[in-house]
Amino acid sequence: MSIRAPRKGENYELSVDLNSEYREKRKDAIKRTIASMTVGKDVSGLFPDVLKNMQTDDLEQKKLVYLYLMNYAKTQPELVILAVNTFVKDSDDPNPLVRALAIRTMGCLRAEKIIDYLCDPLQKCLRDENPYVRKTAALCVAKLYDLKPELVIDNGFLEQLQEMISDSNPMVVANTVAALTDIHIAATSQPSTSSSDPGVFIITPTILNKLLIALNECSEWGRVAVLNALARYVAQDEKESEHICERVVPQFQHANGSVVLAAVKVIMIHMRNVRREELIKQLVRKMAPPLVTLLSSPPEVQWVALRNINLLLQKRPDILSNEMRVFFCKYNDPLYVKVEKLDIMVRLANEKNVDALLSELKEYASEVDVDFVRKSIKAIGQAAVKIDAGAERCVNVLLDLIATRVSYVVQEAVVVMKDIFRKYPSTYEGVIPTLCANLDELDEPEAKASLIWIIGEYANKIDNADELLGIFVDTFTEESYPVQLQTLTAVVKLFLKKPDSAQAVVQRVLTTATKDCDSPDVRDRAYIYWRLLSTDPAAAKAVVLAHRPPISIPRTSVSPALLEELLGEISSLASVYHKPEETFVGRGRVGVDVVRKGTDAEDRFSTQKALQTVVAGQQAENLLDFDDGPAVEGQPSGLAATEVLSQTPAAANLLAGTSSNPLDDLVSIFGGGGGSSAGGGFSFGGGTGFGQSLMSPAAPSSMGSPMVGQGSAPARSPAPPQQQQQPQDDLLGLF
């Protein structure tokens, strides 16, 4: 007998009651033991006393004892042996509920000593006449594999499971599929197995047919398991893909949202092989109503659905084209739902519905939650950039909002206005006085930087531009770096446009920036400007006042390869986060090779493209907006890009400053890189201040994209390793 607790206290009393001669008292004591266990008290010392109560006809008491055993078996391996007999006996009980309970619990005990005794009863239960026992035994094989894979293989349980896929009972089939999938995942994630190993659960055309039959008969959860297996199946030809799609489509009408999403996943995967336009159209048409219906689910399910709808829209923008109104936010929606709805509304915006969208967004801008208000205003900007015909109305709404003079509304509106100026240069100059009138309101760096950029860009149209910029030059050293960089550039622009009046101020700002500033980025940029201006003002003009390509809203927030991967995992965590599984599962370590595999081809493509772009001397600013320009999607990072640049002759020319290309932008690349080595984050916003504002529709994506492409960067540049080591816990920060 093990060491007894002192003869007083709660545990002692329990121990006495557990040994009581009265049945009711014993049962009550077991309940109290479980209650203590739940709140985290250590009741492992009562193990022998509880064990004595195992042999009973009372099913409820048995379950309670089993619950206790599952918890403490690991801590008392010697004593667990005493329980084995009862388990083995129970697995032969005439009552199927008892048989199933015994086999279910034995699998959960996880004590080395008991495992060997598990095989025989399991063997028997797998062939039990009662389907309830069989379905429990099927999952027990997965439990055993988790503990000791050799035992499963040696006893031929795997083959037995394979046979059970043909079981007459759909529930057994579903659990068998779940167990096999579980084992398959465990086996393939083992480091010893190479990735070319097909694994233990290969779905053949015969199995496929059985799964398709079971699909219509099993319970809702079983359907999800079966659908997941169907998603893994590689169709032999187009006809088979079509067949699968046709069989799965009815599941769209299931009441359980996870079945609907699992069916959407299967369709999205197998639709890749379907060539018949008409069928694709039909499938997409049938997909829309169930997706909309998911919006009347509880908020958490709704959120999962919205995140997935977001992905689906990136692949097929036409899927819900007439349904924007259902995404209008309700006043009492949780914030996370509202934010997702906003993003989807912008994706669905077109010329026809832009009016409805704007009046809705304007409404949101007067709500209480600051974060949501800002996102709504940002959405107005996105709508303006996306829909040319609606831009003017967007600007009017923004002006209305600025008129409210609520500080954060005004600041956000200014940031958004800058984006609109970039898309439609010289179109809405009439707005500038209103913006400048709110100069004193601005206290956030991004808003300030935006307004300064606007002043610099339209310096020749604003009479008192030198006065306005003078204000910022006076407080130059107190401002944050993005504002300093922006002030610097704006003053130089002003000088180039109005050389006579701005002579003094440009001198002042260059002196301050080179002498009193502690940011190397700001200093370097100031030096470059200074040198440019003093050697060749014409070159300076070509660099600083170069034509900027208009910005656009990216259709996708993730790279195409990742999008395909995520669409294959619809309704999983990965699809909710819009990130590949490796970034948050596993030991948090993401092998460079693993990530690289997926994006390699694309990287090469985009590197090429980026080079061409730079050499041609056009669209160079796109390098800043990595998420923006479709041409450079998937580009790893600013640093990597610069590395590439410096290896080519054309780029070398650029760096030496002998070319007439927009050096301004290259400097910004360095700026971005420098910033990242200091802060450990890739912020391109630092360069000219456009990095973050437009192209981060949702918080996760702004971090998400660097993480995707990150793989190829560490090899060459010093900064990213720091990023790599960053614990994956950072994911938390995003939410």
């Binding site: 479980i34 739940t38 006809d57 099913l59 409820e60 008491q61 048995k62 918890n71 009552n95 199927p96 509920l97 008892v98 279910r104 996880r110 009662n130 309830y132 026992v133 379905k135 999952l139 439990k143 009972n169 759909p170 529930m171 659990n175 779940a178 579980d182 995942i185 219509n216 008969e217 319970s219 959860w221 999800v224 009815p250 599941q251 949202g257 996870s258 999403l261 909309v292 219906t293 509880p298 958490e300 399910v301 999962v304 109104r325 259902v326 209008f328 309700k330 006043y331 996370y336 409805a356 009046s359 809705e360 409404e363 709500e367 309704s571 909710v576 599962v585 030991r587 948090g588 939410f735």
Partner: protein, 424 residues
């Protein structure tokens, strides 16, 4: 796959903890307490720390939490949490800290049954109730036979129904419950109006009856009969697992073997020609900075034989309201300072009737320049024997071997609670 399942109270104390897999220790509960319960700024129902993800649902000051270490199926996990909540509601009538504490043994039994190794198992309430009960089951040879029946039902092709159901009087009750979602702009334009419908059925039928259910679904009616104008266009239908989805997909017939007792047969959504039962016209003026005047009229827009009951309007007032002077001819209106609303309750509004509220809110002077956000007016109500979508049950046919006569009852209800919003 769900690795662990917890229930916490508001303070973060563990009420229920069950580990389904062994990749966690019980102490993982502490992490959740620190990161979520004691964190005031939680902005997502899923929290991932390292490679551990916590899914949580808040209900009546409880946290229902599922934990996983894999790339789990998020929709499935949340559906499972909600299923658990529904099971508790059905067993205990409610779900709160008290009912969880009082029934923890039963809850452990339930969560052991509805989930095995992290995979959800049969969670049909009707079936569960046959073998997980508040009275303890004694296992004996006699019970074994009964258990065989139960288990084959729990796994059978009709896992939702026992074969040996007998009733003296065969009855089926159909409740069509519609929830109207409305958002109306300040100018009186309908921004969004749609109907979420539920068809709730209580079947007390002998044997294994085969049912056929017919609605005035436009797609069906257009095919068979012509010239009937009152057909309804359903945007989407979702069915209980007993309904044969393949049949519906092919011919839009709704055929099924119903579970015994109460269940939700189908849900549907309709967006075209929604009839709004209540029309609300609001005139709200800010008089200077010290007063807001309200004139709000509610008009019942349906047949005057029907009536709306339990009508509750929640009329927002600015945050710095001191007193509100309310005048109503029908019902009672009262200012609730804690929620910054005037609650106007009208027990009954007859079809065609008009009720008006006039009021003035006096404001305390503030230095705050922030304009009043003007949250929407929220209207709750119930109208019996009225469907906003115009849906009608055309038939419910019951076929059974013994060919008995059955009585069917149909009831309609249109309601709104928190979904009928009018901006002003």
């Amino acid at each position: 796959m769900i690795s662990a399942f917890f229930i916490f109270n508001q303070k973060g104390e563990v009420l229920i903890s069950r580990l389904y897999r062994t990749d966690f220790k019980r102490s993982i509960a502490d992490v959740f307490r620190i990161q979520v319960v004691s964190n005031s700024d939680v902005r997502s129902p899923i929290i991932t720390l390292g490679s551990t993800s916590f899914f949580h649902v808040r209900i009546n000051n409880l946290y229902v939490v599922a934990v996983t270490k894999t790339n789990a199926n998020a929709a499935l996990v949340f559906e499972f949490c909600y299923r658990f909540i529904n099971i508790c509601k059905s067993y205990f009538g409610k779900i709160d800290e008290e009912s969880i504490k009082n029934n923890f043994v039963l809850i452990y039994e339930l969560i052991d049954e509805i989930n095995d190794f992290g995979y959800p198992q049969n969670s049909e309430i009707d079936t569960l109730k046959t073998y997980i009960t508040t009275e303890s089951i004694v296992s004996s040879a006699i019970a074994a036979e009964e258990s065989s029946k139960i288990t084959s039902q729990a796994t059978g092709a009709t896992s939702w129904r026992r074969g040996d159901v007998k009733y003296k009087k065969n009855e089926a009750f159909v409740d069509v419950v519609e929830t109207v979602n409305l958002s109306m702009s300040a100018k009186g334009n309908v921004l969004r109006a749609d109907v979420d419908g539920h068809i709730q059925m209580r079947a007390y039928l002998t044997g294994t009856p085969e049912c056929k259910f017919g609605l005035n679904d436009k797609l069906v009616i257009d095919k068979s009969e012509r010239g009937i104008s009152d057909a309804v266009e359903l945007d989407d239908c979702r069915f209980h697992q007993c309904v044969r989805l393949n049949d519906f997909d092919a011919t839009r017939t709704i055929s099924f073997i119903p579970p015994d007792g109460e269940f939700e047969l189908m849900r549907y959504r309709s967006t075209s020609n929604v009839k709004l039962p209540l029309r609300v016209i609001a005139t709200v003026n800010e008089v200077g900075t010290t007063q807001v005047s309200y004139t709000i009229t509610v008009k019942a827009n349906f047949n005057n034989k029907l009536s709306a009951t339990n009508v509750v309007l929640r009329i927002p007032t600015p945050l710095n309201t001191t007193t509100v002077d309310c005048k109503v001819a029908n019902g009672k209106a009262k200012y609730v300072p804690g929620e910054n609303v005037v609650v106007w309750k009208i027990p009954r509004v007859q079809g065609g009737q008009e009720c008006t509220y006039t009021g003035t809110a006096s404001l305390a002077s503030t230095t705050n320049r922030q304009v009043w956000a003007r949250p929407p007016i929220d209207v709750d109500f119930q109208v019996l024997m009225f469907t906003a979508s115009g849906l009608i049950v055309r038939f419910l046919k019951v076929f059974e071997k013994s060919n008995y006569q059955s009585v069917k009852w149909v009831r309609y209800l249109t309601k709104a609670s928190g979904t009928y919003q009018i901006r002003f």
